[in-house]
Symmetry: C2
């Protein structure tokens, strides 16, 4: 027996077996619903409302408030379909398919680097136009030999000339159809040159490439004119793998399940293909002219993109199959480019420091500076690099995706409806907040959380350990279903007909996340026998970093207490670094040298890290002397002083 | 409406649409029936007998004798199915799936060469066994880097190390399942090394390769132990492409038809795969351990084997896509070997001088000798090479496959039932013949035809132009349906209940074929301003060459009149040359140098060739002085002297 399931507001209808999983119905219908655990039943995010019909709700109830249960909420992953259904995805469970990502690339810095590197655009793939003399009885060499001769005459090394199967099979036809006037693309690895593809006529100037950021949460594509080096256009989408889990660990587990790896690969590659195709068509470009792609992502995302089993990344001693990925062809993974397009992955350092970080260091150019810099990318994970032109050390902090909303009751990513700024009146404890898109709020994003945490601490709403002071007289402080909580927005203000709160559990998660990152800094410095004062620059990368208030981040002890001018926001350095390597092969080599130079410090087994972490589980830190500016603010705030 | 068609003696039944082609029914049923034209309707070979049921015979009648028509013979290609049928394939239309081919390889000569070349066995693919230390937290490099490091430690160049997609995807699993004790196969092109495959445990000594002769008529496979260099076993099959046409031209035409190219490729590759699989299993070898194949064939056969459109080979100025074929992988063409097995094609010289001839020259070693040699391969075509260590010239004679039975009324290949030797009593004109397999004859093969032609000429049955002397009183000389004919075997002697004859049309075809080959010799000699007397050795290659009587071949003017000790039979040099190149990369390089050194002379537009050809359309030749030994025989025979 089958049931019809209609999803609103999407207005999509599918059929499902009796007793089938409602979560699977969402996946089958292509309707997004939030899920951090990928349908495993333990994150409580996939809340939906059954408007008509009946489901077997399973253990849904234990993840729902009484009010939610009364209003027909269930968890999709726990529910089984019993009748025809109409299911609503409430705003807080919705994931917008597109969101605004800062893709404005700082091309000035790149072109300055290119000039320094000798003005080279990418020299890895070369297009050569040739007007061949048609064969005669007196000049009857084979088609391939004619091309080899033409290359020889033009001074190209063609000793180890290879033609792939695809070119081999169409060669004779293309040559004759094009009247012997063709463009070939030549690709060099070592001293072997390969005819990647052959095109009729002169298309030497119609070469395109793509830089791709395969983020755990977001996919970004730059379509690049390889002749001018300019970005033709950019696109971004949420990584649809999110529905299989929020973080890399959940996805690795998902990948080990039947067809999981293939599904994850198809989701990411499919989205990149879609963006590439749409961008190309929008600008009248044949996607078959895109012959070089540079992708940057963390090590797990690279494995998934290539369809390589990532399971050993997750198990001690945390070994990936590859850090330096062999070149592969677009067709091998199903990209909608030239099937022979060369796909290069920015080199990774270790299981938890990926090509996105190598890309970031490349963009920061910290690896060429005399003075020591600190690089931090607070994305879904928290990766940091410390170093200068002599040395580079790196670590991953396992901060978890709290600042991206995961594990936070009303946490969400920085998209429309997210509270992004918070002010709390120190006397009345009334809350002022700013919402992305100036709409009613549906949740709170990373920068909002940092603000809230800092304000709650400075106003004395919470103590140094993040515990809410129940003794404060404010109706915003109350005991909810998960213990004490602080109300940021009242029900009437919100778009979800619910109060938006931060619970003590949320606060604890945020403090653990910030402590992990700060402890990472400390461990790397200790590793090099240095102090924060030795750090000349702090580069902050990632979409997240772009919006945070450094002062507030220092207040909660997420960032070290350094002078504001030492901090520099770099934006999405993953996509920028990929773009650098795409355009210039010398910069690609530079990225490889960076990855080789980086010494990876495994924090998960570091005694020093555990000590640093324990000390950092306070606001801003156990050692308040390390945060003089915070001490100063607290004195100024004249509210609740911590015991000194 | 469908009809059941049963084939006897094969006892196979299939269903066919009403009015469907009977020829297609044979193909669908997988029942072999002779056909030179591939079902085009113009060779008259696919004679079958309708035992039960009715067909629309079309133009069958014009290819059949009255007697055949009365006995229910039709041509399969002209007939359409009207009812359920029982169809018999008579012996003369049958193609045995297997036949005896001389595969006894002269390995002594090869191993002598190998010793001279420094004793090298193939160095192109190397198996390296490594016992890797398992990763730890302190030694946590990626799996690929662990392999790279192990290679570095063993002194292998791993700077440009590539791993293909297949290895990449299974690497982590194989390493761990095998307890970090693995064998990798490394393949070098230029300075790029590729990990071809990875195997658990130590399989360095379990490396196998295959030499393959992709002949127009016959496919031969040597399964070779790459550690010892010894041939494990050999197999041969008729090339099943024969059902799409006897000669390369017919197959090229067939390839241009819908799916024709794919069909031809699958037929040849499928047969080679079957032989490889059977040979491997017979000797307890995993076909996945066969990682290197060297194929030798003519240029068209190479194109078909690789699935490359051969159509321009056939049209002036006769241009192949490739003479030096890029390396491809077994999986690309569907071979049952290691999917990553490297397939190398012996280099071709031009559209009509292929890798089989390069292989032949390699085996003859004529390219290293001071004195001038002549190399001849009278296979389906007739290719010749003249030269020494200074120079090599080559040509294809377009002799046509007359000596393989095509265009000869009772012509057949050298298999059971073929008349292979003929003697004619000069007085009584009675015939003594020898049949392969000592059975009743069903036709006549190449060596039999040469014998018959020589004997008929020496006994005066035919004149210098090959015309039968009607005035001779013998019941063997008679007028048949195609004009004058000579009866070799009476109906009662034959296995087909018909007289086996040679007609004047047959004789004319044979003389044209021998004239083309002899004219080829003459043209190449003239090209070099040389004479036959300057030729020190004549190497005769090909299965055909093994059985012919040199004296008789000189008598008819197929071979030049040189001293018997100058002739040397080399057997199947195509497969032997492939075997040489398989085992020793220096010999592979030597073959490439040979192919590059050979100057191709296009005979089809050569004025000199036309003159030589016209002069050779006599027995033995217009200029009898060029054939002193034949002159001597004729005097001795004291029968009919030609006008002097």
């Amino acid at each position: 027996m089958k049931h019809k399931i209609t999803f609103v507001p999407d207005n999509v209808t599918i059929e499902m077996e009796h007793n089938g999983s409602l979560f699977k119905a969402f996946k089958a219908a292509g309707v997004y619903v939030l899920s951090s655990c990928g349908g495993k039943g333990n994150c409580g995010k996939c809340k939906v409302i059954v408007k008509q019909g009946t489901v077997e709700p399973g253990k849904s109830r234990s993840y729902l408030s009484t009010e939610e249960a009364e209003r027909g909420y269930v968890l999709a992953c726990h529910s089984h379909v019993l009748t025809d259904l109409t299911v609503e995805v409430p705003p807080e469970s919705r994931m917008q398919a597109k969101h605004k990502i800062a893709t404005g690339a700082n091309t000035d810095a790149l072109f300055k680097l290119l000039r320094e590197a000798g003005g080279c655009l990418d020299s890895r793939i070369i297009r050569v136009y040739m007007e061949l003399s048609p064969p005669t009885l007196d000049d009857n060499i084979a088609d391939i030999e004619r091309i080899r001769r033409a290359l020889d005459e033009r001074g190209f090394e063609a000793d180890h000339l290879h033609l792939n199967f695809l070119v081999l099979r169409k060669l004779s036809q293309v040559l004759r159809d094009a009247g012997w006037k063709v463009t070939i693309s030549l690709f060099y690895v070592g001293d072997v040159s390969e005819v990647l593809d052959i095109f009729p006529g002169n298309v030497t100037k119609k070469r395109f490439g793509a830089a791709v950021d395969i983020g755990t949460t977001t996919l970004v594509v730059y379509l690049v004119n390889m002749t001018t080096g300019q970005i033709v256009d950019t696109a971004s989408l949420y990584n649809p793998q999110v529905k299989c889990g929020d973080d890399v660990i959940t996805r690795i587990v998902y990948a080990t399940e039947q067809n999981g790896l293939q599904e994850l690969q198809e989701l990411a590659v499919g989205s990149v293909s879609t963006m590439l195709t749409e961008l190309s068509h929008k600008h009248g470009i044949d996607p078959g002219m895109v012959d070089y792609l540079v992708v940057a992502g963390n090590t797990t995302m690279n494995h998934l993109f290539y369809g390589i089993d990532p399971q050993h990344i997750r198990e001690e001693p945390y070994i990936p199959t590859a850090t330096f990925f062999p070149l592969i062809r677009g067709k091998s993974i199903g990209l909608s480019t030239d099937p022979q397009a060369v796909v290069y992955a920015m080199p990774n350092v270790a299981s938890y420091v990926g090509g996105d970080i190598t890309a970031g260091v490349l963009v920061s150019q910290m690896h060429k500076q005399e003075k020591v810099s600190l690089f931090i990318d607070v994305g879904t994970n928290g990766e940091i690099v410390l170093g200068n032109k002599e040395w580079l050390v790196t670590a991953a902090c396992s901060a978890g995706p709290a600042f991206e909303g995961s594990g936070i009751k009303f946490g969400m990513r920085a998209m429309e409806g997210a509270i992004e700024e918070v002010e709390i009146d120190p006397k009345t404890f009334e809350v002022n907040y700013q919402v992305i898109g100036d709409t009613k709020p549906i949740g709170i994003c990373g920068s909002g959380m940092i603000d809230a945490l800092a304000e709650m601490y400075l106003t004395g709403v919470i103590d140094q350990k993040g515990r809410i002071r129940e003794e404060i007289k404010s109706k915003r402080i109350r005991r909810g279903e998960n213990g004490l909580e602080f109300v940021l927005a009242w029900r009437v203000e919100s778009a979800i007909n619910k109060e938006i709160v931060l619970t003590e559990v949320d606060l604890d998660n945020l403090i653990r996340a910030k402590a992990a990152i700060y402890a990472g800094f400390g461990t790397l410095l200790a590793h090099m026998e240095m102090k924060f004062a030795d750090v000349d620059k702090v580069y902050i990368a990632g979409g997240f970093g772009r919006y945070i208030d450094v002062e507030r981040a220092i207040t909660i002890g997420l960032l070290p207490d350094l002078a504001p001018q030492k901090f520099q926001f770099l934006g999405n350095t993953s996509i920028m670094g990929a773009y650098y390597a795409l355009l210039c092969d010398r910069l690609r080599h530079e990225a490889e040298a960076i990855a080789r130079r980086m010494t990876y410090v495994e924090l998960s087994v570091s005694r020093s890290f555990m000590d640093e972490y324990m000390s950092a589980l306070f606001l801003p830190h156990t050692n308040l002397d390390a945060f003089p500016s915070v001490k100063h603010q607290m004195r100024k705030a004249k509210t609740w002083y911590p015991p000194e």
